[in-house]
């Protein structure tokens, strides 16, 4: 069947809507994005199939990531007449019990339940009444939308992740998918689409924050064979929202690209996916085939004369290829070296023709904007940053996962309320945003409302939305050294300030971490940093000193402790600390002695133990293992 009209979409929607909201049987949705799979979701799925595969009363299905990665594998179970319940940490040994717990209606596994879903309806569903209406909520079971992790979230880019089977285009359509494309194709002029995106205030989610509408408008003005490119290189370590969207809702990105194609006047699209995301590629391939078979991609889409084809290319492990000009070179099969942008890529980009490049999350935001209007989107957020942003919380934080919140929510809310704070009662030290191009923000700025402008004011950037929380055990000098080491490896090497400057800065930082720091090193770092910032060719170089500059700005005392006192207060830089056993705190439980790979710890049971510094290699196994904080960093 080829879809020709909104009515065709609605027909699919009606048919599939029943399956996703009112299944005839018990439906078990297993979260099978990479994070779920890494936590064992495949085994959970296989076991569920083995246990219940022949039971016609139970359907075993897959879905994307609901965001709460900390609690994976997540399994949602629903049945007619009952609320939808999300079970957490359902490894294969627990799946049968979880299903039986739900089916019997006992709900005795309270500790396994994350919550019951109040309202599963997505933001693009215009004609769906509340599928949960008339159901009595379960007693003593938290409501999913009210637990702190989900409390402040507004899901636009993530609207379908975890709610649909990413391999079924019908389910995407059932949640209002492709209606925006139909509207753009049949009811709107290209200029009106661009105006809507401009009105929305949507800024690029890939890092730079350039207004998407303006980029589209300029690209549309230039003549040539225009291309639409989706940047799915997601090189910022610690950011994985693009992966989650591609794995959980690939059609949202395809639809966004299609709309860009209509608006800009382009018939070819490219998605550049990083090599580390094989599952995203697989889901995209399936999605593209399905969209083609329904006539939503390919020639004469929905009976109009608009044609659009998408090709997927994969990267091969080069961070710099996330930069737009490098990405285009890589798409052409060449090495990914950035070029100077005297001529912008919207005029001469891929194959020397006008090119519009946006990030995955940027495209995923487009269909709701077209459907509900730019003003609706602009109604959320702050003066300078509209709408919502997805953040990935990781590092030393209790609730690692993906959250989507309106711009302007404070860092404190994100880290402490949604994120649940720092584990093991450790002290919060900083949150790193913007990846290798960003900075470390200390506790004093936790009340900062997060938007493009405010993050820049404190020396960091929004970047792609990775937030890495650091605690008392993180050494800020080591973090700065870590990022420069990363950037030294990833610099393409064609311009001097970046290639040589980063290397020199790294050398100084490595010395400081090794206890060979000198007076004047900090000032030298600042001077070099200013030079690298000012004279590098592409964003990799110009932003490279940010992690160093912000850590010097906010954690100068740590640098000084390394240089003057030859101490690493966090106990990371091996040359600058040693472990000791605090005899007051040690209970003599013997766990450390058993775990030490060097046999460096000895002592009698129930008596304080002793650590032999000559044997100790500072691997930290004892420090992590001790439940009594008796291993001290000196």
């Amino acid at each position: 069947m080829k879809i020709q009209s909104l009515e065709d979409l609605r027909a699919i929607s009606r048919k599939t809507g029943k399956a996703i909201y009112h299944p005839d049987a018990v439906k078990v949705n297993i979260g099978m994005a990479s994070c779920g799979l890494a936590a064992g979701a495949q085994a959970t799925h296989d076991r569920a199939k083995a246990e219940f595969g022949n039971d016609t009363g139970i359907m075993i299905c897959q879905t994307g990531c609901l965001g709460f990665c900390e609690q994976e594998p997540l399994v949602e179970i629903m049945a007619p007449g009952k609320p939808r319940v999300i079970y957490k940490n359902i490894t294969e040994d627990k799946i049968a019990d979880a299903v039986n717990d739900y089916r019997s209606g006992a709900f005795e596994k309270k500790k396994w339940i994350l919550g019951q879903m109040k309202n599963p309806v997505g933001i693009t569903e215009t004609d769906v009444s509340d599928p949960q209406a008339g159901l009595t909520p379960l007693e003593d079971v938290p409501v999913l939308e009210e637990i702190p992790f989900y409390g402040k979230q507004v899901k636009i880019a993530l609207r379908n992740c975890g709610y649909i089977n990413p391999d079924a285009i019908e389910e995407y359509i059932a949640r209002g998918g492709y209606q925006a494309l139909m509207k753009a194709l049949k009811e709107m002029k290209p200029a009106a689409i661009i105006d809507e995106v401009k009105t929305s205030g949507l800024r690029g989610r890939g890092g730079g924050g350039f207004p998407a509408g303006t980029k589209w408008a300029t690209c549309a003005k230039h003549h040539g064979t225009r291309s639409i490119i989706c940047n799915a290189d997601e090189g910022d370590p610690g950011a994985y929202m693009d992966r989650s969207i591609l794995e959980g809702d690939p059609h949202s990105v395809i639809e966004g690209m299609l709309i860009a194609g209509v608006a800009i006047g382009s018939s070819r699209g490219f998605i550049y996916v990083r090599n580390e995301y094989p599952l995203a590629v697989k889901r995209l391939v399936t999605a593209i085939k399905q969209a083609e078979s329904l006539g939503l991609l390919g020639d004469n889409i929905a009976g109009t004369d608009f044609c659009f084809h998408i090709k997927i290319s994969t990267g091969a492990g080069a961070f710099v290829c996330g930069e737009s000009t490098a990405l285009m070179a890589s798409l052409e099969g060449k090495v990914g070296r950035p070029r100077a942008k005297y001529v912008h890529t919207v005029e001469k980009g891929f194959r020397d023709n006008p090119t519009n490049l946006n990030n995955v999350e940027t495209y995923a935001n487009v269909p709701p904007i077209v459907l509900k209007g730019g003003a609706w989107y602009a109604g959320m957020g702050t003066a300078d940053s509209k709408g919502t942003k997805v953040f990935s919380l990781c590092g030393k934080i209790n609730n690692t996962g993906l959250v989507e919140v309106p711009m302007g929510v404070s860092l404190r809310d994100i880290v402490f309320e949604l994120g649940g704070g720092v584990p093991k009662k450790k002290r919060f030290k900083a949150v790193q945003t913007g990846g290798p191009s960003g900075g470390c923000i200390p506790e004093a700025y936790l009340d900062l409302p997060v938007d493009f402008q405010r993050l820049a004011e404190v020396g960091s950037i929004m970047g792609s939305g990775g937030m890495i929380v650091m605690d008392q055990d993180t050494c800020m000098v080591d973090v700065a050294r870590y990022f420069l080491d990363f950037l030294k490896e990833e610099s393409c090497g064609q311009c001097n300030p970046c290639r040589e400057g980063i290397k020199q800065m790294l050398g100084i930082l490595t010395d400081i971490c090794a206890g060979k720091g000198k007076d004047g090193d900090i000032e030298l770092l600042e001077e070099l940093g200013t030079m690298v910032q000012g004279f590098s060719l592409c964003g990799l170089g110009t932003a490279a000193p940010n992690p160093v500059m912000t850590t010097i700005r906010y954690f100068r005392d740590e640098y000084e402790a390394h240089i003057r006192d030859r101490k690493c207060p966090a106990g990371v830089c091996k040359a600058l600390f040693h472990y000791e056993i605090d005899p007051e705190a040690c209970t003599g439980c013997g766990v450390c002695a058993k775990k030490c790979p060097q046999d460096a710890i000895a002592g009698e049971k129930k008596k304080p133990h002793l650590l032999d510094p000559d044997k100790c290699i500072k691997c930290g196994i004892c420090y992590d293992a001790c439940k009594f904080d008796a291993i001290a960093i000196r």
Binding site: A38, P237, A316, G435, Y482, G620
Partner: protein
Amino acid sequence: MSEAHAVRPDSDEASLAEAVDFVELDTLIDDEFSKDKENLIMMLQAIQRRYNYLPKPALTYLAAKIGIPYSKIYEVATFYSTFSLAPRGRNIISLCLGTACHVRGAERIRERLHDILHIDDGQTTDDKRFTLESVRCIGCCSLGPVMKINEDMHGRIATDEVDKVLGHYE
């Protein structure tokens, strides 16, 4: 970008040439990638999937077939970090050294791997059992520190578990 990918002096190219199936390679270039130069990176990926590294005879053949100089192919193969010009071990350890894993102790895992296997990033054990390749984030930061061996993901690994995990691979 990193020195680790240089061809090893001990690799015996004559014997490797025999191992490359040129007919199969030909079909791959023609059918899957329609001989298009723009697909070079993906062709190299396919060759590496097939042989576990990029054998030089396959690359010179590819150069002639799609009409780009071997030097260009060499440039691409050495620029991107996932390509290896030297044979790799039977098991590939992809240790994540991304930021989230770093702050959760990935460096200690790297040291532990070094203590056990005596290899650094990009190197292969003498018995060809393991190759260590660091990666920067595989998108499973919530489970950090993460180590992928072949296709198996090992999340939240502790330093003292490394030994046991390696034991599963021959």
